[in-house]
Amino acid sequence: MTVEGEYLGMNIRISDLDQENQEFFGHCANHQLHLQKCDHCQLLRYPPTTACPWCASPDASWAAVEGKGTLHSYGEVHQAIQPAFREHAPYMLVLVDLDIQNGQPTEHEALRITGNLATPEGDLAPPELVEQVGIGSRLRIVFKDAGDCVSIPLWTLDETAEQPETPWRYPEST
């Protein structure tokens, strides 16, 4: 059955042929991050794929993964293109290195998750929150419900983690 939903005024439609994404977002709907784990080489992967990027095995099982990580890099959108985002600008595009499997199987690889910075409730972060976050910030996953079988994963500051004193941010001109 096609999964349908709506997020920030955008329609969501995941075909029942797209089993990998139905499963990924189905777990998100339960507010859990699950990733495919290769049955052959045991490596986790993101985003969902139809085979293993390291050993090409088509066989994988879904595994629960802790949604915690470090901000690897970011962009900050001041001129939003999509109407849904205009009222939220400047909003933050985040790229989060999950703690699990970081630096594996080679030094510069990680499960690097795309998303936005959000409040703990899963709303897009206001500018004063965006200004507190930079490369090195510790983030945790949150979910915004978008339909019966789909929620959107987003990231917020991890209140329980030790944060860097000054996370790296784009140098502001003086």
Partner: protein, 417 residues
């Protein structure tokens, strides 16, 4: 074939093929015509430049993001009967890749002379900033749920993390990066065809409005309407054409990093496909970056020029900020880049205009404002002040570095024929 070239490798094609003709329309905003008209004008201009008739061209290649007119229509309009044609999906990085394909199909005996064109109403119809088009309105599914759902859609949005990480990794500054625009604007001021001819300063760049941090408005390329074309044929045939041929020494086509499905997964994310492409480009050309006189490093954004120059070895990784700001890239400098003003200033064609510029540089026949002498050739002054010359003195070798994204790029070395 030169004696020192191993005939069992791709190196035996070095210098065997050439670009014999180049042509373009004006760079406009509001062309007032279809991409069919733009493509037809560009191909016709390139045939005229080469001194070829429609019957001499028997192959066509084009690339587009479904925003152009197919080869068959342009060929029909001009009376070209193709023995081969193909229209490829894609934007940046297509130019050099298609030149490689043209060499391959000629080598295979499928045709003899190939016109490669890009025609686009990049301002008045399908804007590259992603502001229009059905893609932004279609329901979110697989790929869109990891991108567009997050307002991660335009090129600038998708590349911003790679650019930002370079600043973090290497201490690259906004002022250094802004110099790419400054230098390309100087070059454009000597290019009567350029859409933006005004010289700008570092402050102009940094004071322009922020689009997506770290990109200010002036870190981003212009959007224009235009058609561009080059004609590839054997070096022997090219020698019978009107101009000195630009010999193709080596090509790299859509060479990619691991994880093309989502390149962020394989870092360093501030490393581009040029890291891999360089190992094809230089050995096949038989030269290295130190031998190159002029570069055409794709400037969809100021950062893209820098990242590729680094990864192809024009400077050490991490020293790109210094390279692009120390005067090396300026006309009169050691190795000028994008002497036309490139995508930041001349116009946006997904890379084809940067190849055209280097062909004209190698001919010694850049179309600047220098006076034309009695022999019909421009008398270049090599005075690079505003409104002056933009011909590099006696260039022997050029390199084009094409960009699709951090994950995919193409490249080409050309030599004076």
């Amino acid at each position: 074939m030169a004696d020192d070239i191993d005939g069992t490798t791709s190196k035996h094609l070095r210098g065997k093929y050439a670009i014999a003709g180049v042509g373009e329309t004006e760079f406009m905003r509001g062309s007032g015509c279809t991409t069919r008209t733009l493509g037809t004008r560009a191909v016709r201009a390139a045939m005229e430049d080469a001194g070829l008739e429609p019957g001499d061209v028997d192959g066509m290649l084009s690339y587009s993001n479904n925003d152009s007119t197919p080869s068959t229509v342009i060929a029909g309009d001009l009376g070209i009967r193709p023995n081969f044609y193909m229209d490829v999906y894609g934007g940046g990085s297509s130019t050099e890749a298609l030149i490689g394909i043209a060499i391959g199909v000629i080598e295979a005996g499928m045709c003899k002379t190939v016109a490669i064109f890009r025609a686009m109403n990049g301002y008045s119809q399908v804007r590259i900033g992603g502001t229009g088009g059905a893609g932004g309105r279609a329901p979110l599914s697989s790929g869109g749920l990891f991108g567009r759902a997050y307002g991660l859609m335009s090129a600038g949005q998708m590349f911003s993390q790679s650019f930002m990480r370079h600043m973090y990794d290497y201490g690259t500054t906004p002022e250094q990066i802004a110099m790419v625009k400054v230098i390309h604007s100087e070059h454009a001021s000597n290019n009567p065809k350029a859409y933006y001819k005004k010289r700008v300063t570092v402050d102009d760049v940094l004071n322009s409005r922020m689009i997506v941090k770290p990109l200010h408005l002036l870190d981003c390329c212009v959007e224009t309407d235009n058609g561009n074309c080059i004609i590839v044929t054997s070096a022997d045939r090219a020698r019978d054409c009107r101009h000195r041929p630009a010999l193709i020494q080596s090509v790299v086509g859509r060479c990619s990093k691991p994880r093309t499905d989502m390149h962020y997964q394989h870092g360093p994310i501030s490393t581009t496909a040029g890291y891999y492409g360089k190992d094809i480009l230089w050995p096949n050309a038989g030269v290295g970056p130190e031998d190159i006189d002029v570069t055409g490093s794709y400037d969809a954004f100021t950062f893209t020029t820098m990242l590729q120059l680094e990864d192809y070895g024009f400077c050490k990784k991490g020293e790109g900020g210094d390279y692009v700001s120390n005067g090396t890239m300026r006309l009169g400098g050691k190795r000028p880049n994008n002497t036309s003003g490139g995508h930041l200033c001349e116009g946006y064609t997904h890379g084809l205009n940067m190849v055209i510029e280097n062909v004209r540089q190698l001919r010694g026949h850049i179309d600047d404002s220098c006076p034309i002498g009695a022999d019909g050739r421009r008398q270049h002054t090599y005075d690079y002040s505003e409104g002056g010359c933009r011909q590099v003195k006696d260039p022997e070798l050029t390199a084009n570095l094409g960009w699709a994204g951090p994950q995919t790029g193409s490249a080409m070395v050309m030599a004076k024929g």
